[in-house]
Structure formats: structure tokens, C-alpha cells
Amino acid sequence: MLKIKDLSVAVEDKVIIHDVNLTIKNGETHVLFGPNGAGKSTLLMAIMGFPKYRITKGSISFKGKDITNLSVDERARMGIGMSFQRPPVVRGVKTQDMVAACLQGRGDGDTISQLAEKADLNDFLERDINYGFSGGEVKRSELMQLLAQRPELTLLDEPESGVDLVNIALIGELMNDLLEKNCPIQQRKCMGLIITHTGHILDYVNARTGYVMCDGTIGCVGDPHEMLATIREKGYEECIKCYLGRLPLYE
């Protein structure tokens, strides 16, 4: 379980996230909507533990342990993994080195090529990570790394952005694999938190809980498909108006 309590996050002295509360139980996937600049990525970066995203208030606990003060790599090794919206290029470090790092000694050379096959990235293993990758290739490479890492909590930052229609189904397939969507519900352990601006990914990945975030706070919780319908019909502005004035959500 991931439990976020009263969380506020600052970047360079500016508080971006205010008093966010959110709980994801084992086996659940939640979706985070919100307009550009709402603070969605900031929230994910704070959950992953990047030092630039400073927690000024509240706490994060994962699998019953307070991880608020753990480093990025400690959180990764506890089972949190993230797909970056814009990961950096690391010259000289090949895609296969990244996959091998994610495997942490599990599997072998075959495992790497099987994963590449799955993500349709066979020709990318020898290439420097993210160097000259298209938008869709970056996303698939991020998911391939996560499939090697097998996190219990997967954080996905706009996995569908920049992906063409041909590839979006493949992205959906990889996500479903990561989030154990093909297992019976009772056996699912993996959790997911997916940021989506457009909501397209919901056509491929099922989720029952959605949030709308605006100006660094979570305004409402509900069925993500219904939320998406409202957002698509009326736009984010209406959606936000609707929850303005409501009390912040607590459990």
C-alpha cells in the first residue's frame, strides 16, 4: 500500500504541492488528471524521492514503512519504479546497460533480448539510452526498463504523450503487464499511479480510481472514465470549477 498524508512539496523554495492525500491499495491502479502545470509530475517526483522535490510537510509511507526520508535508490530497491516524462540522454550508457541495471542480477542476456522483443526495441539495445529516440521510443524504453525492474508501485508520467496510434496499443499492453492486469484481481499485488493529460491511455488500461489535480491540490476523486467524459466534454476549467469550494479530501 502507498499512503500519502498531508503532503506538501516545494521546488526551489516555491511550494507546488499542497496538502495532498492519496492511498493506493495493493493491486489498484489510480489515474491522475490535470491541466499542464497542475503539479502532477512534481507529485510523482516527490514520491520517487528526487532531492530537488523537497517535502515540506506530511509523509509518504510504502508497504507500511515511512519512506519520507529515504533516497531515490532506496525507494527503487523497496519496489517503487517510475517512467519519466522526459528522461535524460546518458551518452555511453547503452539501453541494455540500463535494462541490466534494472534487473539487478536477475535474469541474463536472454532476459534482456526477450524484454526488447516485447517492447519492439531490439535495435535499440546497443544504442545510448534515449539518444535520438523518438517520443514513442522513449516511452517504450521506459516501460521496458520497468518490466526488468518489476516494481510493486509503478509511477507513469504521461506514458502516452508523443506516442502514435500504432504504438499506443503496445504501450497499453506493456503497462497491463507491469500492473498485472492479466492476473485475477485477488492475486494482483502491483500498484500503479498514472498521470495522463489527455486520458487516451484509459482506452487500454483499466483503472477504477481517478483524481483531478489543479494548482497543486487534488480536487476530486471518482471514476476515471466518468471524469474523463466530463473533462472531454467541458474541459478542465469546468471540471475545476466544480470542485472549487469543496473541502479538500481526507480519508
Binding site: 528522461p87 546497460d97 534494472c102
Partner: protein, 411 residues
């Protein structure tokens, strides 16, 4: 001109240049060093050399216990050749003095790719006791295993004078590994080395040089390469250990159509060390090509990384890539990439980048579960990994091992 006459002319030119400072690098007072060594004895079986020397040589890529992986071996201690042998047809390896006696045509290759009066260091070699290797691939002969050569500095306060001649006859192919190293970490010494390469039509040479010096040694190599039609010269240079001062700026001239020169350099150094290392290529004939790639890492010393490409003929193409990584607070890397085009229709480009490891990259790897140290080591390893096209797998493996050893040096 007879051998004696040419030799007299070179001596005169050298005498005129003996005070001539080099245009780059700190000036070294050669008079502090002696050219006279202890006359080390010749070894028929190089595996009988002292174990310590063999270990040092192995660090520089020279294997003496298992000669089956080499097609020939040359070892020079100070200014005396102590071993030379060949184990494969089609290639010749001998001390340069011996080649001078054997072949009438040697003057054609003597001070032809490098000028004897380039500076006081080239002059010093000509005027003092020196030796060096002669390595030649016979026409059409392709050797699989590399020829290895070791230039070993043993005596304190010695100036090692080296003059090498390398000839790849038409359509031949060979690989050379030269390892330069020293007996002690404390003693001072000066290594002066001239290497003249002649790559004939359609010939291919890969030249891998591993420098494993010590913090008190000064090094001034002077290399020149002449490449004819369709010839390929590929240099892989690896400086693995700190050296007091090293300056070199080899010059390759692609004089034949579609001639290719490639230089890959990996420089790793630390505190108290000063390097000025470049590569220059003249693209003088149609369709000539070059690629110069250098990687520099300092944990405290100064590195000047140069590159120069000049296009003097139509349809030539050249690319220069200089990347430097500063680990720690005090190192300096100065990248100086230069391109000169003397006519239209040429294609020259460069990229240069100097900096410390980007925190964003470290954190990206940490998010996959690597510790900060592991992430940094992975990035450094990647940085040093220069993918060298066309290198036989065995050589590529050896080079990778050497790079991994130098990586340990910095981490």
C-alpha cells in the same frame, strides 16, 4: 643520395634545431637527462625478463608469457633493443638500426613523415643514442594477431630516444600494440618518441598505444602518418595513469584518394599531471575521410584536448568529437577543436562538451535501483567506452580491459 650523405644532412638539420622549443607544451631541459643506459642484455626468450617488468608491460598491453596471441614482439629497454622476434610470415619486426643495414631504401622513410628539425626533441633523437622498431607488413599480407612493442624506461634520469618506422605495403593489413611503461613510480625520466607511418594503397593499420607512465615522467611523442589511396590508419590511444607532463599532436596526411584516418583517444589523469594531446588530419585528396574522437577525464590535473581537421580536396569528410569529464573540484579540461576548409564541397563538423557528471543522469540511474556510486561508475564507464569500428574482437577486448583498469584509477 647515399645513406651516409642523407645521414649527414639530417645531423646538420638536427644540430640547427637542438635549441628549438616545441610550439606546444612546457619546455623540458633535456640536459638534465642522460642518453646512456646500462646496456641491458638481449633476451632470446622474452618470458625470461624479470617478473616485475613483465607485470608492468602487461599493464601496457604487452604479453610476454603467451606469445601465441602475437605475430611479433619488440622490446626496448631505455635505448637498447632487448628482444625482437616474428612468429608469422608476412610481417617483419626488427630494431630500426638493423633495418637500416638490411634495406637500401630505408632513407625514403627516414624523417619523411616527421621533420627532424620539428623541435629540440626530434633533434635530440637524431643526435644521441637511440633505437626503435621497424615493423613492416609485406604486400597483400594480412596478419590476424597484432605485433606488440614495448618501450620500457628503466634507468633513473634517462632520456629514452625512440625512432620507429612502420610500413604497411600495398593491400596489407596489420595491427600493432605499443605499450609504454616504466620500472618505477618514483624515478624521473623523459621519453622522446618519433613514429613514422607509411600506409600504402589499400593497406590497413590499427595502431593501439597504451601509455602507463608514472607521475615523474615527461613524454614527448612525435608521430606522422602518410596514407595513400584507399588506405586506412586507425589509432587508439589510451593514457591510463598519471604522467608528469605529456604533449603530443600527431599529424596524419591523407594524400591518396579515399584515404581514411581515425584517431580515438582516451585520457585519464589526476592531480599534478598536465596533458596536451591532440590529433591533426589533413584531407589532401578527393574522398578522404577522418574521425577524431577523444574522451578526457581528470580528477585534478590539466588536460588540453585538441583536434584539427583541414580539408584541401573535394568530397572530403571529417568529424571531430571532444568530450571531457571533470571529477572532483580542481581539474581543468580545455577542448580546442579546430576545422579549416580550403574549398567548397567539403564536410567538416565537430562537437565538444566539457563538464561534470550531470546530477540528473545520476538520479535517473538511481531511480532504477543503483546506488550513487554505482550510478556514477556506470556513467564513467560509458563515457570512456569509445566504440571502435573495425577493431578485431580480440583487440577490442584488450582495449576494454585496459579502459576498465583506468576506470579503477579514477573511481
Amino acid at each position: 643520395m647515399s645513406k651516409t650523405d642523407t645521414s649527414r644532412t639530417y645531423k646538420e638539420k638536427a644540430r640547427a634545431a637542438i635549441e628549438k622549443k616545441a610550439s606546444l607544451g612546457e619546455d623540458i631541459d633535456i640536459s638534465k637527462f642522460t642518453s646512456e643506459d646500462e646496456n641491458p642484455t638481449y633476451q632470446d626468450d622474452p618470458s625470461k625478463l624479470p617478473a616485475r617488468a613483465k607485470t608492468q608491460m602487461l599493464d601496457a598491453g604487452v604479453m610476454l608469457d603467451d606469445p601465441s596471441q602475437r605475430s611479433g614482439t619488440y622490446i626496448q629497454m631505455d635505448n637498447t633493443p632487448v628482444h625482437s622476434s616474428v612468429s608469422q610470415d608476412g610481417v617483419e619486426v626488427m630494431p630500426v638500426g638493423q633495418a637500416m643495414e638490411k634495406y637500401d631504401w630505408m632513407p625514403d622513410y627516414w624523417w619523411n613523415a616527421v621533420a627532424v628539425d620539428q623541435d629540440k626533441y626530434t633533434a635530440n633523437i637524431e643526435l644521441n643514442r637511440y633505437s626503435g622498431y621497424f615493423i613492416r607488413a609485406l604486400p597483400g599480407q594480412k596478419t590476424v594477431f597484432p605485433v606488440q612493442a614495448c618501450l620500457y624506461l628503466a634507468k633513473d634520469q634517462l632520456v629514452q630516444n625512440v625512432h620507429n618506422i612502420i610500413i604497411a605495403e600495398e593491400n596489407s593489413e596489420m595491427h600493432i600494440i605499443t605499450g609504454c611503461t616504466t620500472a618505477s613510480r618514483e624515478e624521473t625520466g623523459l621519453h622522446l618518441g618519433v613514429s613514422e607511418f607509411y600506409i600504402k594503397k589499400g593497406a590497413k593499420v590499427t595502431f593501439t598505444m597504451i601509455h602507463s607512465w608514472s607521475p615523474e615522467i615527461a613524454v614527448r611523442p612525435r608521430s606522422g602518418v602518410i596514407i595513400e589511396d584507399g588506405g586506412l590508419f586507425m589509432s587508439n590511444y589510451l593514457l591510463m595513469k598519471p604522467v608528469h607532463t605529456l604533449q603530443m599532436n600527431p599529424l596524419a596526411r591523407c594524400i591518396g584518394e579515399n584515404a581514411t584516418a581515425r584517431f580515438n583517444s582516451v585520457l585519464v589523469t589526476g592531480e599534478g599531471s598536465s596533458l596536451d594531446v591532440g590529433s591533426r588530419v589533413m584531407l589532401d585528396a578527393e574522398g578522404a575521410r577522418t574521425e577524431i574522437i577523444s574522451r578526457a577525464i581528470t580528477t585534478g590535473g590539466v588536460i588540453i584536448a585538441r583536434g584539427y581537421i583541414e580539408g584541401n580536396a573535394p568530397e572530403v569528410k571529417g568529424h571531430l568529437e571532444c568530450r571531457g569529464l571533470i571529477l572532483g573540484e580542481r581539474g581543468i579540461i580545455h577542448a580546442i577543436p579546430e576545422l579549416k576548409g580550403n574549398l567548397a564541397g567539403i564536410d567538416l563538423s565537430h562537437e565538444a562538451a566539457v563538464g561534470k557528471i550531470a546530477e540528473e543522469e545520476v538520479e535517473y540511474l538511481m531511480a532504477r535501483g543503483l546506488t550513487r556510486e554505482e550510478a556514477t561508475a556506470t556513467i564513467v564507464r560509458g563515457f570512456l567506452r569509445v566504440d571502435i569500428e573495425g577493431l578485431p574482437p580480440m583487440l577490442a577486448d584488450e582495449l576494454r580491459r585496459a579502459v576498465e583498469a583506468s576506470e579503477k584509477e579514477v573511481m
